[in-house]
Symmetry: C2
Subunit: 377 residues, 2 copies
């Protein structure tokens, strides 16, 4: 069972790219778009990214979010500040399909989804990609290829909704990593939000020094500076929302960075060559070890069957354990055996440590069974 | 009069690329290389980058740096720490040609050149380019194309030596910017050395947080983090030398960055949306205004003639004024009219403010004359 109809709310770079990549995966999927910006809707229709497009009020009035559409998927590509309002809107309209979002922080949006109530089933998502460009004009069907795409199931997450979002995201070309929302927010503060603020700070420093010196200092900026600060050209409105949404983790991360910089500065001031070299060498090793883009594995698939009771959070526990072990879930199937028991079948690629995953699941009281999966003739 | 023979000392990425780009510009230029690393020499000979290659001791013994070679150019591509020793060596050997270097800081190397004495004529240089790769294997004839290349004339700089280095650097595909050594060192601290240390600090922070969390945090790093930290993979030895060579300016720059980050952090902690947005917006505007790569102008050349006495520093004063006015010197000619007077003829492209340049030179007691330059038929 796959997504019956896709509705993208918020047609920016990300929302537009979801439509484009979904279209590439399934040419005949029905795709609808909702945005307050008329030219964005027209551009998406023009490019054939979507079949229908309406303003928010018109879409609600047209019954796009009415009940009886269990296998619909709504993707909220709105800025983090507008997402809570949309969740309330969907609840009020009686929408009973699946909802996911594309926001850069996850704790607050999950709280919003729980607070909104309603009958829709929510799965938080965050594709780890982006661009300094913005708007639907920059949308690309390849934006998610080889990209890590985080899903953040909670104890309340519906198993079938998770499975469908997982399959949908995988069809976009991305690789799902399943993590806890709080761990996600802490991690992205370090690998995304602190770097963004730092890029802005570097530009700010260079601008103000250039002004003091009355010289065209920035003209001398070589490739390294340009690479490091490219993301600082991103939308200030969008990033203000992200920064404040993840304020606690960002503040802790910035403090940490200030500490590392102060340590560097003190070693340079002291002429401590060994100390400076040690910091640079540790960082160089870690940077070189950073994995290149993920390339899909095509051979040696394995199937892991996990009998589960329908106890809360089971899909989160199992998929998060798989991500922790470095295993990639290519596909999830669920055999509902009775009202409160099912078998979760995970198709795994040959990456990561399946032994660690088995041990982890056994320690949590599951009885997983592993078997190689033959390619069908 | 152009360079009669080129000797590159230190065959890394930069030195090797100088040889490659010089070869591209003048196929029959005699090019020699000196390096302690035998495989680097063999690789350069193999690729046809150089005609002859010797170890340092062998090159000195073979008389490569003997007197009587006024139009030779020695390019020191050695790490900053080794450059002073080479300047002493050249002085001791009686070398009377021209010397330039490729170092990232300029104050100390100019002091070293003055201290070494000798009969060679030194012009400090710094190409604003680089790569996270290193070694002669990564050398490329296109490395300098469209790149700003800084020369730092002093009052003691010989006019003809400057002219020849200017023409040589232009022939590599680069654009010369002439600035004072101290201004250079302060500027590169901000646009190059602080960003490098910051990239290392971001990787260090992410590594240590990942270790604390016991999670594979770096796996989630998207393109932005990778772009920002690419330069952190650079050689720790090379960068330790650069950091300590430019310690004062680097320490001041790092303090400045820590200050900007603390300001961001406080605004985020206070939930000050307007304050956060203001910092992000200023930086985004400045980053978007950053010039793209320079493309050579091909039309509307102008000639600026400046009668000068052979007073000390005249070439530095005139070329630095041109760079300050944003003017690009395509070519320099010098008509020596008597023992202590000459006419400096600068061929300028149509960039920058030639009016500002004329006013600046007149204020300094020169009597410049501007005329359009017709393309020769």
């Amino acid at each position: 069972m796959s997504v019956a109809r896709l509705t993208v709310v918020g047609l920016g770079l990300m929302g537009g790219s979801v439509a484009a990549a979904a279209r590439r995966a399934r040419a005949r999927l029905a795709i609808r778009a909702v945005d307050a910006d008329e030219p964005s809707l027209a551009a998406a229709l023009d490019r054939g990214l979507v079949d229908e497009a309406l303003s928010p009020d018109a879409a609600v009035a047209a019954g796009w979010f009415g009940p009886g559409a269990r296998n619909d998927l709504v993707v909220l590509g709105t800025p983090v500040g507008a997402t809570a309002g949309w969740l309330e809107r969907l609840a009020a309209a009686g929408y009973d399909g699946i909802v996911t979002d594309l926001g850069s922080t996850k704790r607050l949006v999950i709280e919003s989804a729980e607070r909104a109530g309603g009958t829709f089933r929510f799965v938080g998502g965050h594709p780890m990609t982006g661009s300094e460009r913005s708007g639907v004009g920059a949308a690309s069907e390849t934006l998610f290829d080889g990209v890590y795409y985080i899903l953040t199931p909670t104890p309340a997450t519906d198993m079938d909704a998770y499975r469908m979002v997982h399959a949908f995201v995988t069809s976009l070309g991305a690789r799902v990593v399943s993590v806890d929302a709080a761990a996600h927010d802490d991690a992205v503060a370090i690998v995304s939000h602190v770097p963004h603020v730092t890029a802005s700070a570097l530009v700010e420093l260079a601008s103000s020094r250039a002004e003091e010196a009355g010289a065209d200092l920035l003209r001398l900026a070589a490739g390294g500076f340009k690479d490091m600060t490219r993301i600082a050209a991103g939308s200030p409105d969008l990033w203000t929302g992200i920064c404040l949404d993840n304020a606690d983790a960002l503040v802790a991360g910035l403090s940490g960075l200030e500490g590392v910089l102060a340590e560097f500065r003190e070693r340079v001031a002291a002429g401590d060559a060994e100390g400076v070299r040690a910091l640079l060498a540790t960082a160089a090793d870690a940077r070189r070890a950073l994995p290149a883009q993920w390339v899909p594995a095509t051979t040696r698939l394995r199937e892991l069957s996990v009998p589960v009771s329908d106890r809360p959070g089971v899909v989160g526990i199992v998929t998060t354990a798989a991500s922790r072990a470095g295993c990639n879930i290519e596909d999830i199937e669920i055999d509902h055996q009775s009202e409160d028991s099912a078998v979760l079948r995970l198709v795994l690629t040959d990456e990561g440590s399946v032994e660690a995953l088995l041990a982890d699941l056994e320690a949590r009281g599951f009885t997983p069974v592993l078997r190689p999966l033959e390619e069908e003739a």
